[in-house]
């Protein structure tokens, strides 16, 4: 019996230790941001991006910051940003500073989870006039306050396969500058290059939003509901859909059987691809033999149009180290660090002076993307963009395949999205 007793005491002790261990873990996590004297640690949340160079640039950035301030950086990598950030915000474990994609800014700002940077910027007389206006304004909330500072941006461009153009008897200078001429040009290419698809695209709202808004209508209403079924939106997108469903001059990369637009373009099976500037480094590493170039999009309905995607650094409103967080944001968006980061990662810097210093406006491959930053439509559309986007991307492949008409598809997407939006508000 004595043995038994000993055992039970032991087990109780083990149980108590386990419980203490669990409690210890959680309390440790919570007090991490406490920041006592000595070495301080700042948690920074980000996603990795596609190129290894980007990670390298980010690591240098963090190292420079630690060298400069003595504050250590605890990295938190997001593999599924939307889901994980939301879980972190719910659980109160979100990092002090994290990436915010411009499209998410409206919903995060209205939920009050982002700290306004305006007062910090005012105190330090932070000069924001150097940023490209669309990238800076993307992080301005509806209350006029600033909720993030852009780290970089990307616009889209028209990638062309120079060898295939040559085979068809053209050069890059023959690429038409307006939408109707361009679609006619694709038809010519189709007859001249059998077995080649003239153009590949991605069936994504982020890639089609500027086309849909080219006739003057917005894809959302004033109250932020879906407005995809607006006749003006439908008529703006119809030529692109027809080019796929009827003419087969434009195919989505999925219809061509590829995993991404870059793979489709790199396989030499398409002449054109509409992709972001991020494809430049991807093509250079993965398709070294490909002879390609970039140019600006043709005008749509007589106007220059493009999309601009930007990601910024924002501060967690629940952070316990707001001063350190601001120091970090100020440091990483400074001219010097921005240039280091943009050069190493080969991304487009959000500061005009840095773009100039890097010689991007004279760079043959990058110039079309930099030029588009002046007139592009930002990838932002109210607080319900995620819902609207998901409904659009659910139905639009069937419209491209001609299985449903575009008007029906967009009507269905709009109704379904608005039903869900109503569910959130009621």
């Amino acid at each position: 019996m004595k043995w038994n007793h000993k055992w039970s005491t032991l087990m109780l002790a083990a149980g108590a230790m386990l419980a203490l261990g669990l409690a210890g873990c959680s309390s440790k996590g919570a007090s991490d941001g406490g920041g006592s004297t000595g070495s301080k640690t700042l948690t920074v949340g980000f996603w990795k991006g596609d190129s290894p160079k980007e990670s390298e640039a980010r690591d240098t950035l963090f190292k420079n910051f630690t060298k400069d301030t003595g504050i250590k950086i605890k990295q938190k990598v997001y593999n599924d940003y939307n889901t994980q950030l939301m879980t972190d915000l719910v659980g109160g474990t979100a990092p002090d500073v994290f990436y915010v994609d411009s499209s998410l800014l409206p919903s995060l700002q209205t939920k009050g989870v982002l700290e306004s940077l305006s007062s910090y910027m005012k105190k330090d007389k932070y000069d924001a006039s150097d940023f490209y206006a669309p990238t800076y304004k993307a992080f301005t909330g509806d209350d006029g306050k600033q909720y993030g500072l852009p780290k970089d941006y990307s616009t889209m461009g028209l990638y062309y396969n120079a060898d295939l153009l040559k085979k068809a008897g053209y050069t890059a200078n023959d690429i038409p500058k307006t939408d109707t001429e361009f679609l006619a040009f694709l038809k010519k290419l189709k007859t001249k290059l059998p077995g080649v698809t003239p153009m590949t695209i991605s069936p994504l709202l982020a890639r089609q939003m500027f086309i849909m808004q080219s006739t003057g209508a917005k894809i959302i209403t004033k109250s932020g509901k879906a407005n995809l079924s607006d006749p003006k939106v439908v008529s703006a997108l119809q030529p692109l859909i027809d080019a796929d469903a009827k003419d087969k001059t434009v195919r989505t990369f999925k219809e061509l059987g590829f995993g991404s637009a870059m793979d489709a373009f790199g396989s030499q099976k398409t002449v054109f691809s509409d992709e972001g500037a991020w494809q430049v480094s991807g093509l250079k590493t993965n398709f070294k033999d490909l002879n390609w170039g970039t140019t600006e999009f043709p005008t749509i309905n007589g106007q220059k149009a493009n999309m601009i995607f930007t990601v910024g650094w924002s501060m967690n409103a629940a952070s316990k180290q707001k001063d350190d967080a601001w120091r970090f944001i100020k440091f990483v968006t400074s001219k010097k660090q921005s240039q280091q980061y943009s050069t190493t990662a080969s991304v487009l810097p959000s500061r005009k002076s840095v773009a100039k210093a890097m010689g991007l406006t004279d760079n043959k491959e990058m110039a079309p993307f930099v030029a588009a930053a002046n007139y592009a439509t930002p990838w932002i559309a109210g607080v319900n963009l995620d819902t609207i986007q998901s409904r659009y991307e659910n139905i639009i492949p069937s419209a491209f395949q001609g299985k449903v008409t575009l008007a029906d598809a967009l009507k269905q997407a709009t109704d379904s999205a608005n039903k869900d939006i109503a569910k959130q508000d009621e």
């Binding site: 019996m1 038994n4 007793h5 055992w7 039970s8 087990m11 109780l12 083990a14 149980g15 386990l18 419980a19 669990l22 939307n82 889901t83 939301m86 879980t87 915000l89 719910v90 919903s107 939920k111 009050g112 989870v113 989505t252 999925k254 219809e255 061509l256 059987g257 590829f258 995993g259 409103a317 607080v383 995620d386 819902t387 998901s390 409904r391 991307e393 659910n394 139905i395 639009i396 492949p397 069937s398 395949q401 299985k403 449903v404 379904s416 039903k419 869900d420 569910k423 959130q424 508000d425 009621e426």
Partner: protein, 302 residues
């Protein structure tokens, strides 16, 4: 007195042994269940200003009248109705073959078990390649002149679920086959010997002895199959990028719950309500199944 203190000691001891498991069970199973039950009756905002607003049965009524939930339910039921019978029959047939004493029996067993060991997301990516426009299946069908043009299995609303069904059956059959294999060891060889003497052929033995004798294992396999197929999530998520497309063809109940819970603000309560309805559906179907299936194989000693 002595006995009383001994009893007390026994209880303490028992409690100490159970405590760790109980703690885990409470935190990770019971608490989430009751919390989601609570959430399903509320309109919840968990991000920023946390708020719970009681809305009664509204989430449930919304769910029943929601067209997308009905599409998801239909897709899920169709998937279950095909996958569960096919995987059960296939698993039993394979197990019988591998138990019949053919050559390289052990090698085949190991080879066939490999799919179960691979992670389902990796499997999905491999199958996405196999089913892709330029993938092996299309080129094989083209070479055999069965197809004039390749089919885009994963981008077509009519075929994408079929592709998911095939990949799932392939990956789950081995697991159930292994369970059947162990069940087959328990069948009394004397019955087969008796059947041999009576002149029964292979098929008669299989239908009259193996199938009825293995019924308890079948019950287990079908039940597990039902539960896991109703939770179909990873394949549709990866194939459709989380949207459930093309044209809602891969929208399953688990996917719709995920969309409302984690992709959209303010609908956590609604997602919980759908989750509760899913639980109810699985529970009811399992109960009906149990009612009609008999565990009494031999008719003796029960």
């Amino acid at each position: 007195m002595a006995r009383k203190s001994e009893r007390k000691r026994d209880i303490t001891q028992a409690a100490a042994f159970v405590a760790p498991m109980l703690l885990v069970l409470l935190t990770f199973t019971l608490f989430p269940i009751f919390y989601s039950l609570y959430l399903s009756f509320h309109k919840v905002n968990l991000v920023g200003n946390v708020s719970y607003q009681f809305v009664g049965l509204k989430n449930f009524i919304n769910a029943i009248t929601d067209e997308r939930v009905m599409i998801a339910l239909r897709n899920t039921l169709k998937y279950v109705a095909i996958v569960v019978p096919v995987q059960t029959v296939l698993a039993l047939v394979l197990a019988t073959v591998l138990n019949s004493g053919i050559r390289f029996q052990k090698t085949f067993r190991s080879l066939l078990f490999i799919p179960t060991l691979t992670s389902s997301s990796a499997l999905t990516l491999i199958f996405m390649f196999i089913f892709s426009l330029n993938g092996p299946i299309n080129s094989l069908l083209m070479k055999l002149n069965l197809l004039a043009a390749p089919i885009n299995f994963l981008n077509d609303q009519n075929s994408v679920m079929g592709a998911i069904i095939v990949m799932n059956i392939w990956s789950t059959v081995p697991m159930f086959m292994t369970i059947y294999l162990s069940g087959l060891q328990d069948i009394d060889m004397a019955m087969y010997e008796a059947a041999d003497i009576d002149g029964a052929n292979m098929f008669q033995k299989w239908f009259k002895i193996t199938v009825p004798q293995i019924a308890p294992v079948t019950n287990y396999v079908v039940m597990m199959g039902l539960i896991s197929t109703f939770q179909l999530f990873d394949q549709p998520y990866i194939v459709s990028g989380g949207s459930g497309g093309p044209n809602n063809a891969t929208l399953t109940l688990s996917l719709i719950i995920y969309q409302y819970a984690f992709r959209q603000f303010g609908t956590m309560g609604y997602a919980s309500a759908i989750a509760l309805l899913l639980t109810l559906v699985v529970f009811l179907i399992s109960m009906v199944f149990r009612h009609f299936s008999s565990e009494n194989v031999t008719g003796e000693g029960r």
